[in-house]
């Protein structure tokens, strides 16, 4: 590394001090000038390196951005697929209707908060001691509401012979009874061994009347077990029976509280429970009257609503019925056939309504799209309420597609390509915006539908770009026309950004390959023209015939930001050849188009094309200079070189960096490689290397 550079890089570098030291040490002006030049060249080199780095990073950045956008769209599609799968699974699981056997959780009703806490603590303590005393009942704590209600020693008897069997310790909980056998050779805290647990909801407790040798006994019937127990006295037996009764009643009230949440809907239910005259074993079929009348009529009512196309009313009724079914707890845990039947019927109507609504949305050739998306609002909204947003979204997007098709067909292919593209892209993106609005209105908070929409929009855009490429990228189209079309499409596409949907990357991506080809084709056309013109070039200044002709020419070029006053000689002469002037025009036009088309992905091609064109022209001039011996003529040629290499390229760089942000490396290199020409020397030793991307990277 250059020692001065090292100095600059050091952290405590002080520019003022450095300059002062320099001026002190230097002897005379030339020394200072030399140093100044050195610093300047260093600065140029550094900025060049910096730019190269920036460019390199820039390319990396572009690559990364591309990757990200691809990933993004893949994620969208994945999420769409997943949500489709989910809805499929949902519909599958919904088809298995029965199996609603919810276990009944029994809770102890406690009023005050404090008591609750204390009781909870006591409950847990109690259960823990039981856990410690009884071997093999580790799942005792699994039911969080379980609490002990009674316990005691019992003697189990043979139910047939009434002879004693073994000693048992019984635990009555609020949800069942646990029997534990005495451990004969007991060690430590474990006193009993778990034997059985019987659910209260299915356990039959039978009092056994004292007769002969059997005293103080009761039976537990829990199919297939029949177990007979003898307690120590009449009062302990009574206590057991009473506790069993209490536990069962508590459980029953708990169940009833649950049922009472919709008691107003089935008022006769509680009556049937209380009235002893009624058959308590009554089966569910006989409780038909307990369902409200509206429910019984729901299926027929739904048919009428659908026939009258009163879908909103149908939905309200449907939801009401479903709500009723949801809250309905079958009496005695027996399936209520009336309810099951009604449920099935209502479910059929549910499907029917859904189908009718989907038909509304379906696209068919014999249906007019006159109503457009507005007409779809109602069925879409209703289907969403029915929980069918996936289907409604699918149909909605299908409808959008077919509306899009009709609108696009209506755009006539007449007049210039530009006009056609203008109308077409306006039609496509106006519809797209409109559809996005409608979509956001219909599916405001649905991620799965949103991803479906993005996939749809992406597909629509692809259809558009494919069509666009077929129509626009044909050999007859000039680069200028093409550019105008692309710019039109791009600006239309940007309208979607207002909805948070940016598809510009997809548009640019679709156009990248054909555009690269088109730009290179344009370059080939220009270089062909350069070759042709070079054959006819006579290397004489341009004669504009008159003063006014010269003025017009100057004005024309001033419009292109080119001041040619320095090249004027006499009244109507310009010290630039006609060839140089027309090349200038051609080049600037091409540059303009390229800069309009400029995207990060195209920048490489653009740079390459600009270099190639200028290189061709400069090479031609260089050849002319080499074969020219006459000093005066050489001076004239050098003037043209100077114009192209200095004036024209500076202007081009200015325009380039305004749009791109930095100057073109290709043009810079061109200037550097050809500086010798400016001094009238032909750089014969120059190796003509093909301009390639390697030199940038």
């Amino acid at each position: 590394m250059d020692p001065t550079l090292k100095l600059f890089v050091s952290t405590d570098f002080n520019p003022d001090k450095y300059v002062r030291e320099l001026s002190q040490n230097c002897i005379g002006g030339p020394e200072l000038v030399r140093l100044r030049n050195k610093v300047q060249s260093l600065s140029e080199e550094t900025s060049g390196k910096l730019k190269r780095n920036v460019y390199q990073n820039y390319i990396q950045f572009i690559e990364t951005a591309k990757e990200i956008s691809h990933l993004e769209s893949e994620m969208y599609q994945l999420s769409h697929l997943l949500s489709e799968q989910r809805s499929l699974l949902n519909s599958l699981s919904n088809t298995s209707v029965l199996g609603d056997d919810k276990p009944v959780a029994v809770e102890v009703v406690v009023n005050s908060e404090d008591n609750k806490k204390q009781e909870e603590e006591a409950r847990q303590n109690k259960l823990t001691t039981i856990l410690e005393a009884v071997e093999g009942c580790s799942n005792l704590l699994e039911v969080s509401t379980r609490s002990l209600m009674h316990e005691g020693d019992l003697l189990e008897l043979d139910p047939m012979e009434n002879t004693p069997l073994k000693r048992i310790h019984g635990y009555l909980f609020n949800d069942g009874v646990m029997l534990a056998a005495w451990n004969s050779n007991r060690r430590g805290p474990i006193r009993y061994k778990f034997e059985a647990f019987y659910e209260l909801g299915s356990l039959a407790v039978v009092n056994v009347r004292d007769l002969g040798n059997i005293k103080y006994a009761f039976k537990l019937l829990a199919f297939p077990d029949t177990r007979l127990f003898q307690s120590t006295s009449n009062s302990t037996k009574k206590e057991w029976l009473e506790k069993f009764d209490q536990a069962k009643k508590a459980r029953l009230t708990q169940d009833q509280i649950k049922r009472e949440s919709f008691a107003e809907k089935s008022p006769s239910r509680s009556v049937s429970i209380e009235s002893p005259s009624l058959n308590p074993f009554e089966e569910a079929e006989e409780e038909v009257a307990s369902h409200p009348e509206w429910l019984m009529e729901t299926p027929e009512e739904l048919d009428v609503y659908v026939a009258q196309r009163h879908f909103e009313d149908a939905l309200t009724l449907l939801h009401k019925a479903q709500e009723y079914f949801k809250n309905y707890l079958p009496h005695h845990h027996q399936p209520d056939h009336t309810v099951l039947d009604l449920k099935r019927k209502v479910e059929q109507r549910h499907l029917a309504v859904t189908e009718v609504l989907m038909k509304e949305l379906e696209v068919s050739p014999d249906k007019s799209l006159q109503g457009g998306l507005r007409a779809a609002r109602r069925p879409v909204g209703l289907l969403n309420q029915l929980g069918r947003s996936t289907q409604s979204c699918k149909l909605f997007l299908k409808l959008c597609s077919s509306i899009m098709r009709t609108h696009c067909k209506r755009v006539k292919r007449e007049g210039s390509v530009i006009v056609y593209i203008q109308h077409l892209s306006s039609a496509v993106f106006t519809n797209m915006c409109h559809m996005t609005e409608e979509f956001l209105r219909a599916f405001p908070n649905s991620p799965s539908c949103s991803s479906a929409f993005i996939v749809w929009a992406s597909t629509e855009l692809s259809i558009f770009t494919t069509h666009f490429i077929k129509q626009v990228f044909i050999t007859q189209t000039t680069l200028s026309t093409l550019t105008e079309c692309v710019v039109l499409a791009r600006s239309q596409c940007e309208r979607l950004c207002a909805y948070g949907i940016d598809f510009c990357y997809q548009l640019d991506g679709a156009f990248r390959t054909p555009l690269t080809r088109a730009i290179r084709d344009a370059r080939d056309k220009v270089t062909d023209a350069i070759k042709l013109r070079s054959l006819e070039d006579t290397w004489i200044p341009t004669n504009l015939k008159s003063k006014s002709g010269l003025a017009r020419c100057l004005q024309e070029h001033a419009k292109m930001d080119l001041l040619l006053d320095n090249y004027v000689t006499g009244d109507c002469w310009l010290q630039l050849t006609n060839n140089t002037l027309s090349f200038t025009k051609l080049f600037l036009n091409l540059l303009e188009d390229c800069l309009k088309l400029q995207t990060s992905e195209l920048l490489y091609t653009i740079d390459e094309v600009l270099f190639d064109i200028l290189d061709a022209q400069v090479k031609y001039i260089g050849q002319s200079l080499r074969s020219e011996k006459q000093v005066e003529q050489r001076q004239f040629i050098t003037k043209n070189v100077d114009f192209v290499l200095i004036t024209l390229i500076s202007l081009a760089q200015k325009k380039y960096s305004t749009v791109v942000g930095f100057e073109s490396f290709g043009l810079k290199r061109l200037v550097k490689e050809n500086t010798a020409l400016l001094h009238g020397v032909t750089p014969t030793s120059r190796q003509i290397t093909k301009y390639s991307s390697n030199e940038y990277l």
Binding site: G201, A204, V208, R209, P276, S277, P280, E282
Partner: protein, 201 residues
Amino acid sequence: MSKKPVTQPALHKVIMVGSGGVGKSALTLQFMYDEFVEDYEPTKADSYRKKILLDGEEVQIDILDTAGQEDYAAIRDNYFRSGEGFLCIFSITEDESFQATQDFREQILRVKNDENIPFLLVGNKCDLEERRKVSYQEASDRAKQWGVTYVETSAKTREHVDKVFFDLMREIRARKMEENKTNNGRGKDKNKRKKLKCVIL
């Protein structure tokens, strides 16, 4: 069942079913203790056992007097499962109790899964002829339809009280003997036995 003939005589398990207040407890108490209880006290579930002479053979009867009401179907089913024979009782003074017998019958058949389960239809309180609501014809028609016997009883006058218990026990005993026969041959699949009977008929 006969593996310990020394210790205990055969045990026949009878279950009293029927709506509340029809006289299940009254019939049971009359049979067991020869007494009639005037006042009505709803039963929970009581079981009785007694040694009796059935056609000269000493047997034990185990009577389960069920509650008029049971809120849990699963518990009800457990009562029924424990029985070998059923006395299905209604009061001839209460039509509703007669209608209820239909449900009891169905539930018992469902739980026992046996159409030929020992079963008697009992019309109680026949001493209250002046308050009869269920005709003899009507009741015996239903019994015929089920293929069971219909008997009218009075817990108060003891009319036919012994008869219903003894008839049911005979049915149970016959049933067990038949079962033993099939058991010697094969398993106790009740459906198989049913088929067998159909062939005989």
